[in-house]
Symmetry: C2
Subunit: 426 residues, 2 copies
């Protein structure tokens, strides 16, 4: 599913392995505690949404150095034979506590804790960060987009311009968690049991002798699933041609095609024209989909300006995190052999020791979070993690979390800062 | 190498398949010509660098719908049995012309042309765009970074925060094309025959009883390859501890360790302090590496401010294309069945017909480009593509291209616009 059958243990920075060799040779095998935090919210974001644990589960299960991996490492001349033999039979022995997927969280909160022999826990750093970082970006962007779109269905069209096929899967799954209706990505559709969705490209219209023939062929083939792309030439004309073909198919076969897609131009004016035109023709069943470099800000603006929209396709800006392509996500040691640790380099101060997160609520509304020293008896947002939850559980959790988060913290622009307090851990 | 053994044919938007079904049922099987172009340069970029063809070669070779793929498509209820049978034995029959990797190019220039039956050429759209877009971003960013770094070696540290493992490979290969010295990414090191490189993490220093023991263990293990991270606590002190350990190892074993890495703080002041301190102690062999959210702009500023640097690690900003995470890259039909095609929707006008690119030079310097109607007899930057070239060929080409591009077009900030003229194709 995540395409990591191929030697996922090598998805790592070399220094994880050089450090590991020192730990191995020096018999540093006591338990270390690492925690993952995100240092800062991107501009205009009020919260993060936890995601990525399903992929982490797959990664941990698949983690091994196979013979080819070991032979490659040997060829570098950096590693000693006894250490390479050790890697050849290595399986990470770690326990994980994490925020369940779909949980809303804030900067500096521990979101995932890895406990185990320092060698084991260190080796997982690079790829756990890689998985969590973009998974959180996409789940959060998806939540923001769904909030902006209100009751309008959102569709993920992001595959073609995202940075790779795994990032596309992370984008599709983020959308799934937040409630997107479908994805254009067929591979993600299969891997994640998502509805794949698609219409037609401009090239399809151009290859035909005119829009009418292109639309007719498509409507006859796909019937009630047909969505016609109307902006290849003159969009106002395209809308009228689509209406004529919809009328023709309705009369000839009694079939109501699904609608149209507008991918450029003034989406407010064009969608309003289309809605009015269709309704006048008795084609009120035709739905209007829009796309074209949209994001949560543009969607909010479109809807506030009165666009007549029945569905929204988002692509590049979503699937690359245009406004926040990376998070300041870090994996820091907080304890080794029972000793609490922190670092003090400028701007990168860490807080020592394992922690518990308490979320204070009032009448079901989130009030503030308190981060304190680890207390196994206290209610804690961090929970032992072994296997991913069913998608419905994650979706329901995010919906509840967003409902419980007061409006000012989830504003799409200029949100208020949610209060997070640290107690007794310094 | 590119992890696409798993059903790469499903790395596609559903609409490629719905359109294909219409072409199949309607016997639209004439030759189509598609071209890939990029509409606009990101802010401060003066050119693009072609990259991605090696991955396209792998993609085309691996392209097939296996039994599971066909069964999945069947389960959607959208496709007819004869079409699914056709997909089950489908291999794309296309010819490709492309700019060779490492070629410098500009907006609106055709960089890759796909010719073949319209069904075949259309099916490749989504993933060809996915491959080319981020490969070009990374090769271009790498070229910009190397130009900013001058004679200082650049290292790719971007795996942990990039958007996925394939995007990390694209980043590593972009760096390889432009002349990066190494990558931290072990998988990329193996897949691309790149030098993997790494030092140590702050956690490693913290897990020891003090910096001195941490540095000593590492220096003893890795000798002349050891690079010590000095900014976990007080960086000025860390530099002095590193010097003491280097002196100790030199005296005890006659080994000169490699150097130090500074990952935070005022890199100009700290690197100058370290250089002066090392030189005074007779440790002039110690090299100084810097890292920490660097990009071409910050590198240029550091060097202009007199930082004493022997190597530069770049991470997040490079490996996610922070300032340009996606390009406006499109795959447009320009001819079908001998008929030249264009579209006329607002802001997305395309130019009809196949094209030839002529690069006009004067005394070996690039003067301007002329895009005209396809002329098989003319010198043309687009060349038939079948298999990727050796990396050395690509590296040499890029070096020559950048040497031939006059300075104002390759400025890192506010470059001039390179002249590209269109003739006779409208």
């Amino acid at each position: 599913m995540w395409l990591i059958d191929a030697t996922p243990a090598l998805f790592t920075d070399l220094y994880e392995l050089t450090m590991a060799q020192v730990y191995f040779k020096k018999h540093m095998d006591q338990t270390a505690e690492f925690e993952v935090t995100v240092r800062r919210l991107p501009e205009h974001w009020g919260y993060f949404v936890m995601a990525g644990l399903a992929e982490i589960e797959t990664y941990l299960e698949a983690f091994r150095f196979d013979e080819n991996d070991v032979a490659y490492l040997q060829s570098l001349g950096t590693f000693e034979t006894d250490f390479l033999d050790y890697l050849g039979q290595f399986k990470p022995r770690v326990r994980i506590r994490a925020l369940p997927e779909g949980t809303v969280f804030f900067p500096h909160e521990p979101i995932l804790e890895v406990s185990g022999p320092i060698l084991d826990a260190q080796l997982l750093e690079t790829y756990i960060l890689n998985i969590l970082g973009f998974s959180i970006i996409e789940a959060t962007l998806a939540a923001r987009t769904v909030l902006a779109a209100g009751d309008k269905p959102v569709l993920d069209f992001g595959l073609r311009r995202c940075q790779g096929p795994i990032s596309a899967l992370r984008a599709a799954r983020g959308g799934q968690i937040a409630g997107f209706k479908a994805t254009s990505n067929v591979f993600a559709g299969r891997a994640l049991t998502l509805l794949p969705s698609g219409t037609m490209a401009h090239s399809y219209v151009q290859a035909h002798d005119g829009e009418e023939q292109a639309f007719r062929d498509f409507a006859e083939q796909f019937g009630q699933n047909a969505v016609l792309l109307v902006d290849t030439y003159d969009t106002l004309e395209g809308i009228q041609v689509a209406a004529a073909v919809a009328q023709e198919i309705l009369e000839a076969k009694g079939i109501r095609i699904k609608g149209i897609r507008i991918d450029s131009g003034d989406l407010v004016a064009l969608s309003r024209f289309a809605r009015e035109y269709f309704d006048k023709q008795g084609l009120d069943f035709l739905r209007i989909f829009v796309s074209g470099d949209l994001d949560e800000y543009k969607i909010r603006d479109l809807l506030e300006a009165g666009a007549e929209i029945d569905g929204i396709g988002i692509g590049t800006r979503y699937s690359t995190g245009r406004h926040a392509p990376a998070l300041e996500i870090v994996y820091k040691i907080v304890q080794y052999h029972g000793r609490n640790l922190c670092k003090s380099s400028p701007d990168k101060v860490t807080r020592p020791g394992r922690k518990t997160i308490t979320r204070v609520t009032d009448s079901g509304r989130h009030e503030n979070d308190i981060i304190g020293p680890f207390d196994p008896a206290a209610p804690d947002l961090l929970r032992p993690f072994e296997a991913a939850e069913p998608m419905e559980t994650i979706q329901r959790r995010l919906a509840q979390e967003l409902a419980a988060l007061p409006g000012p913290f989830k504003a799409i622009r200029d949100p208020e800062t949610y209060p997070v307090h640290f107690t007794g851990s310094r």
